[in-house]
């Protein structure tokens, strides 16, 4: 699998080639992000070695603490690759936490029943948005904005107050640890990695995945090439809705409560992670593996700020913004170079 040119592993991009070809390679942004991650990790190691930064668990915690973001960002990657955008991610996550907490705590339904319900609602929400976007030719930006309002509003309709979850099955699942020898991962982290792998497979080894790229490259062409571009678009938003709901479930596990204001603005984090991961917001170019590195970089910023201790939380936002800016400029530079 890794022998094919389609597998966007970082090491592949370093295979000897002419400089211009390397610069034009679509995998380069992913490599840059991976390199940045390693660099930041190295800086963290040298600065906070005495505070236990070097523990493998610190690295694994990146997955535990950001698993939900990874899942959401994987869904957003589909949407952005298809040339669309999904602003409803944060609201969908918040709604799922409320919906789950409400069903489990207030209605007393078993978790095993609630999970498919929540996922179904998320997928349905995404499907409806995709349906409107495709059938009525309304811009995704506006439709998912309506989704953002709708799901955040539905949170508040369920309850204005936070609902904490005391259900034993939830807490046992939340605390379950999967040992890896050098450390452990939570169920959420495992699920997020599985989602990543599935997303990778779907995008690169199924016709649906390639259609997503084709539509992002040129939607009009995709239609004239006879690709079912409508169905693909709807499916992409359904995938994103499903991933958001799954991310919401992981977030519920992680935080063990439902709150109408959970995950406010998470769509920005997800989009930032995708962009930092080297996916072009115009669609058609990028890799879900890049999204992984994007999420890891964002997570590492948070960790480093925590280790630093003296820095306030808003520095996370500023650092994310600065990083976003740097990556956007680098991407811009590379795409101009490619043209000449």
């Amino acid at each position: 699998m890794s022998a094919t040119t389609q597998s966007p592993t970082a090491s592949d991009s370093r295979t000897p080639s002419t400089a211009s070809r390397l610069l034009g390679d679509r995998r380069l942004p992913v490599a840059v992000t991976a390199l940045l991650f390693l660099l930041m990790y190295g800086v963290g190691l040298s600065r906070y070695q005495n505070y236990g930064f070097g523990e493998p668990q610190v690295f694994l915690n990146l997955f535990i603490d950001n698993g939900y973001l990874l899942v959401a960002a994987a869904g957003v990657t589909f949407v952005i690759l298809s040339g669309g955008i999904d602003l409803s991610v944060g609201s969908m996550i918040g709604f799922t936490t409320m919906f789950t907490a409400w069903l489990v705590e207030r209605q007393g339904l078993p978790l095993l029943l609630v999970i498919p319900m929540a996922l179904g609602v998320g997928a349905l929400g995404g499907f409806l948005m995709g349906y409107v976007i495709h059938n009525f030719e309304i811009q995704p930006f506006i439709v998912t904005l309506a989704g953002l309002f709708l799901f955040r509003g539905l949170c508040l309709v369920i309850s204005k107050e936070s609902i904490s979850i005391g259900d034993s099955s939830v807490s046992s699942m939340a605390q379950a640890q999967v040992s890896l020898g050098m450390g452990f991962l939570s169920i959420g982290a495992i699920v997020s990695l599985v989602v990543l792998a599935v997303a990778f497979y779907v995008l690169h080894y199924t016709r649906f995945g390639r259609r997503v790229y084709a539509i992002g490259g040129n939607e009009q062409s995709a239609m004239l090439m006879g690709l079912p571009q409508g169905g693909t678009k709807i499916a992409v938003y359904t995938v994103s809705g499903f991933c958001s709901a799954l991310a919401g479930l992981l977030f519920t596990l992680y935080i063990q409560s439902g709150d109408p204001l959970h995950a406010t603005g998470m769509e920005l984090d997800a989009i930032a992670a995708v962009v930092i991961g080297g996916t072009l917001l115009t669609g058609g170019s990028g890799y879900v593996l890049g999204t992984l590195f994007g999420v890891l970089v964002l997570g590492l910023i948070k960790s480093i700020i925590q280790f630093e201790g003296t820095l306030s939380s808003w520095w996370t936002k500023i650092a994310t913004g600065v990083l976003l800016c740097a990556f956007i400029l680098v991407q811009r530079f590379m795409t101009t170079r490619k043209k000449t």
Binding site: T4, T5, Q6, G24, R26, H204, Y205, T206, R207, R210, R211, Y213, A214, G216, G217, N218, Q220, S221, A222, M223, L224, M225, G226, L227, P228, G284, S285, T340
Partner: protein
């Protein structure tokens, strides 16, 4: 020709758009193993007929039968599944995907739903090889020039339907029965056109019915067997190509006799007495055009001749500052001009009508009036709007002078026909009273009547002392209008020839071919 059963038969086709009947009661048939030209001026209904056939537009009346069975095609996908493949003038492929993927997307070889990449690339390479094309199928499509992308589009359309990518497959299975080539040659150079024709003939032998649309009459006579002529949305006639000569064809298309263009042949080129207007000294741009020297006098028409991609457009764009030169300098009226942006050229009195009317010329949502005053307004800057009375007068004057239809300054320019859009662009620049007017293929894709009008306009502008740099694909057009002919080859300006009675198209062609002028 023993007339077998037509593979495709369209009868009584009607298609209406709000306020216009694009096709009324049109019959069209296509036989297996023939190359069939669909002829007509702009607005005749060629594109509409093709879009109805391929399911892009829905049918308002009439029937379509394919292989003797009535079919109702409602989407491009259905058309493909029925064995009707189309290659449009614009390359409708995905530039971000590899060549191989573009050929196979939508019908990639899969096993248990998993795309077999190695098989896909191998088949694509085989297909490309078989057609004698030298293309690396793993490279992204965007790394190839437009002409190659066009060939890839054709390769793709051949593989349609049979899943294995084994070409048209001799009629077994739902392979391509009908191949529609909608102006595929407009962006190909001669070699590529020959390559395409070889391919078309080969497919014809395999029994594929090819519907070919091209503005180049010579190409029609070179490769087609039969033609159907449309005019104003109605069928004019169906003829064997060998039964109808070019004059007859043009008369059918126009619905009137020739002669409009002949007047121009008598145009006397006046003497080259004008003073020097523009001097380009070693102007060049890497990847665009090699450094060249050029001098343009007042009232002079310079025609640029050369194959597509020979650097004609690139040269023009440098003189306008649309692209920035890496080397050389330009002076206009004795003053140096930096040419770092179009503004510099415009300020110095240069105007440029791009060959791409839609993408680089018009603002389709704005009205005819707004489009016409745009250049003048841009030159004045946003703080100094043109007074309303003066504006309306100017616009009315140019709508009348150029006979823009509809003569309504409030009409959205996007709704005008190609010829009228071109005139709007001309009006936009004429209103600024430029010293040098650069026209890049102003007659491309517009009907013959409008063509003649534009050529006459160039002559009269030149007589009024305006210099014109004229680019056209047809050598006759260049020869007819120019005082001086600049010949380009492989992105170099190889010769500048003073026009005269002894200069003929064949001499220009020789210069293009040999790269030097005797």
């Amino acid at each position: 020709m023993a007339e077998p059963r037509p593979v495709l038969e369209m009868t009584g086709i009607v298609k209406e758009f709000p306020g216009v009947r694009a096709l009324s009661d049109v019959d069209f048939r296509l036989f297996p193993g023939e190359i069939h030209a669909l002829m007509g001026e702009n607005g005749a209904g060629k594109s509409t007929l093709i879009k109805v056939l391929t399911g892009v537009y829905s049918l308002d009346g009439g029937t379509v039968t394919l292989d003797g069975e009535a079919v109702r095609i409602t989407s491009p996908l259905e058309a493909q599944q029925a064995g009707i493949s189309t290659v449009y003038q614009e390359v409708n492929l995905c530039p971000n995907l590899s060549v191989a993927e573009n050929i196979f997307i939508g019908r990639e070889p899969t096993r248990m739903g998993r795309i077999q990449w190695k098989q896909l690339r191998r088949q694509a390479a085989e297909l490309v090889d078989r057609l004698g094309l030298d293309i690396d199928v793993t490279a992204p499509l965007s790394s190839y020039p437009l002409a190659v992308q066009q060939l890839v589009a054709i390769v793709r359309s051949l593989g349609t339907g049979d899943g294995t990518g084994d070409g048209a497959g001799g009629g077994k299975g739902p392979g391509t029965k009908v191949l529609i080539l909608d102006e595929p040659t407009s962006s190909l150079d001669r070699d590529e056109v020959l390559q395409l024709f070889a391919l078309m003939r080969r497919l014809k032998e395999e029994g594929v019915a090819i519907l070919f649309v091209s503005h180049f009459l010579d190409q029609i006579y070179e490769v087609c067997d039969r033609m159907t002529v449309l005019r104003n949305g109605t069928l004019v006639g169906e003829h064997l190509v060998r039964d109808l000569d070019q004059v007859g064809l043009v008369q059918l298309m126009l619905g009137k006799a020739m002669g409009q263009l002949d007047e121009l042949h008598e145009h006397q080129l006046h003497s080259d007495a004008g003073e020097t207007l523009l001097v380009a000294d070693g102007l060049g741009r890497t990847g665009g055009i090699a450094p060249f020297d050029m001098e343009i006098r007042k009232g002079e028409v310079i025609g640029l001749a050369g194959l597509l991609g020979s650097g004609r457009t690139e040269l023009a764009r440098l003189l306008f500052g649309a692209d920035q030169p890496d080397t050389g300098k330009v002076s206009i009226g004795g003053k140096p001009v930096s040419m770092s942006a179009p503004n510099d050229a415009i300020d110095a009195g240069v105007a440029f009508c791009s060959e791409n009317r839609k993408s680089e010329g018009l603002v389709p949502d704005l009205t005819v009036r707004e489009n016409i005053i745009l250049a003048l307004q841009a030159a004045r800057g946003w703080t100094r709007p043109i007074p309303v009375a003066q504006r309306d007068e100017l616009v009315a004057k140019y709508i009348e002078a150029l006979d823009i239809r509809p003569a309504n300054p409030e009409a959205r320019v996007g709704q005008l026909s190609g010829g009228n859009q071109q005139k709007v662009l001309l009006a936009r620049w004429l209103i600024t009273r430029p010293k040098l007017l650069i026209l890049d293929e102003p007659t491309r894709g517009i009907d013959i009547g409008a063509k003649a009008e534009i050529q006459k306009l160039v002559v009269s502008l030149s007589e009024d002392g305006m210099s014109v740099l004229y680019i056209a694909a047809e050598l006759e057009e260049v020869l007819r209008l120019s005082h001086t002919i600049g010949v380009l080859r492989d992105r170099r300006l190889v010769a500048q020839i003073a026009n005269g009675p002894e200069i003929t198209t064949s001499r220009i062609l020789e210069t293009i071919a040999s790269g030097e002028h005797q």
